[in-house]
């Protein structure tokens, strides 16, 4: 008689496919996962505690370091929350700049995801292509604010830097460039049979489960739930632009893959319109008191980051520093469904499913 034993396998914290220092302990029966226990906290820097001793402008650089693949949206959620509390009007030009950098960031973030996801699954070259094109966006950001990843670009009431001359034209040129590339990528990968066999029907869940687990972003929309905060609870200038929210209904890794590709297409649409409507003049900073002291009270601001609903809950006691600041991080919330998805799957699907969730560990641990 064959004797079988359960095997405990430790994946991470240092493992390329965990995209950071994330660890997961697996109980295996042969190659089948019986139980999965995520272990987090390796990247916990106590952002929320640190923020309690800083004024609001000083907190902005810390938001860059949460989801370092999408720092612009993190900047926005914090300044948006403070502006809400203080009823600050943001000049149109500044709001246009914010929207343009946020959509560029969404494209860049999805490109990182696309490249690394395929790398996880075993395709090397898409990673190189994705990073080549992301570099174009990073260069644009570098020209704008002198940083490649941690931009510290937005301020309460506006943005720190106006667009240098010719910058908007470069964004305009980027749109057709990226569209052409995207078609190539689609041809290169999306129909590949090996790729389809690896991700179709893998990591499947339904809308009810997704809502119960509080998923957001492509992880929620892949089950057919039409929930994109840019449409449902419009902020910034999104109401002015014509774009669609891509939806799919199978809830598997393949659908999440297609959605993220389609979201790049939609972001390019927004960018195209934003560049056309970009105001020729105007301020980049609104009227903001010298010391930012939101009145006593609380606010929960949320926006659609590339990974889903990122929220910022601020409790103010009328001081220059927040009394309590809490970030609702989409990666942290989305990751919770992982143990449920993994049970009963084979070992090889671990990477496929984890990658499909699209996490950034800096945001999981915060």
């Amino acid at each position: 008689m064959i004797r079988t034993e359960e095997l405990l396998l430790n994946v991470g914290p240092q493992h390329p496919s965990t995209h950071g220092v994330f660890r997961i302990v697996l109980k295996l029966d042969g190659e089948v996962i019986k139980e999965a226990t995520p272990v987090m906290g390796y990247l916990h820097r106590g952002t929320e505690k640190l923020a309690e001793q800083l004024n609001y402008t000083q907190i902005i650089p810390y938001t860059d370091r949460m989801d370092y693949v999408s720092a612009m949206t993190n900047n926005y959620v914090l300044v948006h929350a403070v502006e809400k509390m203080m009823s600050i009007e943001v000049p149109e030009r500044a709001e246009f700049m914010r929207l343009i950098v946020m959509e560029l960031q969404r494209v860049a973030s999805h490109l990182v995801w696309w490249g690394t996801y395929l790398l996880d699954i075993g395709a090397m070259s898409p990673f190189l292509y994705a990073f080549r094109d992301r570099e174009v966006i990073i260069d644009l950001f570098n020209e704008l604010c002198g940083a490649r990843l941690t931009y510290n670009y937005m301020r309460v009431g506006g943005v720190k830097w106006d667009a240098p001359s010719g910058w908007i034209d470069k964004v305009r040129d980027f749109v057709p460039y990226m569209r052409k590339r995207l078609k190539e990528y689609d041809k290169l990968v999306s129909g590949n049979e090996i790729f389809l066999a690896r991700i179709k029907g893998v990591g499947k869940y339904d809308a009810q489960t997704a809502i119960a687990y509080g998923l957001s972003g492509a992880n929620l929309r892949c089950t057919g739930v039409n929930w994109d905060l840019r449409k449902q609870e419009p902020y910034s200038l999104y109401e002015r632009f014509d774009f669609d929210v891509p939806l799919s209904f199978n809830g598997d890794c393949y659908d999440r893959y297609l959605l993220r590709i389609e979201e790049i297409v939609q972001s390019l649409r927004i960018l195209e319109q934003a560049v056309e409507q970009f105001p020729s003049g105007g301020e980049t900073m609104g009227k903001v008191p010298r010391v930012i002291r939101p009145p006593a009270g609380e606010v929960y601001a949320r926006i659609e980051s590339p990974r889903g609903e990122i929220g910022c809950y601020i409790v103010s006691k009328g001081k220059a520093e927040p009394y309590r600041l809490k970030f609702r991080r989409p990666s942290f919330v989305n990751l919770q469904i992982l143990p449920e998805l993994l049970v009963g799957q084979s070992m090889t699907n671990l990477i496929t499913i984890l990658g499909g969730v699209d996490i950034v560990v800096g945001e999981v641990d915060c």
């Binding site: 119960a212 509080g214 039409n226 669609d244 609380e298 929220g311 009394y323 609702r328 919330v333 919770q336």
Partner: protein, 197 residues
């Protein structure tokens, strides 16, 4: 290498999509009701408090305000002992049907601790913030993980950083700090130069 499959499962949510129609119908329903009863945020909040008093307990709601800076968000403070019943009520009540727990945050108020829940219904888009307070010595609030599984790690985070116990939680242990950490860093009286550090 074959081309992209002909039938792509992606659709676009447009005005004519099923979900959009559903929302529109709901909106019609709401406007219809405005003719009969007042439908301002304040009136809705008053009705909610009445219903909770009637269905849960007379003293269930301690405080009810409209948070104007937060888009007129109804904000209620529920007594700890009635929270689980009220949470279930908010989840199953037809008017509210809060199926989505979007945020869960713990706050150290000084004399007491509190947990703030931001709930929304993805169908009716009704939103509410609920505060639940607990005493500083041996703080505990019933876990809502059985109602909203998304509360699981959020409650673990609050337990870890603020030391609030959540009876009914399936797996309450530290999540961010090491298991042998002493103290709860987000407490206001936490000493960062702890001898254990």
């Amino acid at each position: 290498m074959s081309d992209k499959p002909e039938e792509t499962p992606i659709t676009h949510a447009t005005e004519s999509s099923e979900h959009a129609e559903q929302v529109e119908q709901d909106n019609d329903y709401v406007t219809e009701r405005t003719e009969q009863v007042e439908d301002t945020p304040q009136a809705r909040l008053d009705r909610l408090v009445e219903q909770l008093k009637h269905d849960i307990a007379e003293g269930a709601v301690e405080e009810a305000v409209i948070n104007e800076v937060n888009g007129h968000l109804p904000t209620i403070t529920v007594k700890k002992g009635h929270w689980l019943a009220a949470a279930h009520w908010l989840q199953v009540n037809k008017d509210w049907s809060c199926d989505y727990l979007r945020n869960l945050a713990g706050v150290d108020l000084g004399d007491e601790l509190e947990v703030v829940y931001h709930l929304i219904s993805l169908q009716t888009r009704r939103e509410i913030a609920v505060h639940v307070k607990t005493e500083r010595e041996q703080p505990s609030i019933p876990s809502v993980t059985p109602l909203w599984p998304t509360a699981n790690w959020n409650e673990r985070e609050v337990y870890d950083l603020l030391g609030i116990d959540f009876p009914g939680h399936p797996d309450l242990r530290r999540i961010m700090m090491p298991d042998d950490w002493v103290g709860h860093p987000l407490r206001k009286d936490y000493d960062p130069s702890d001898s254990e550090v």
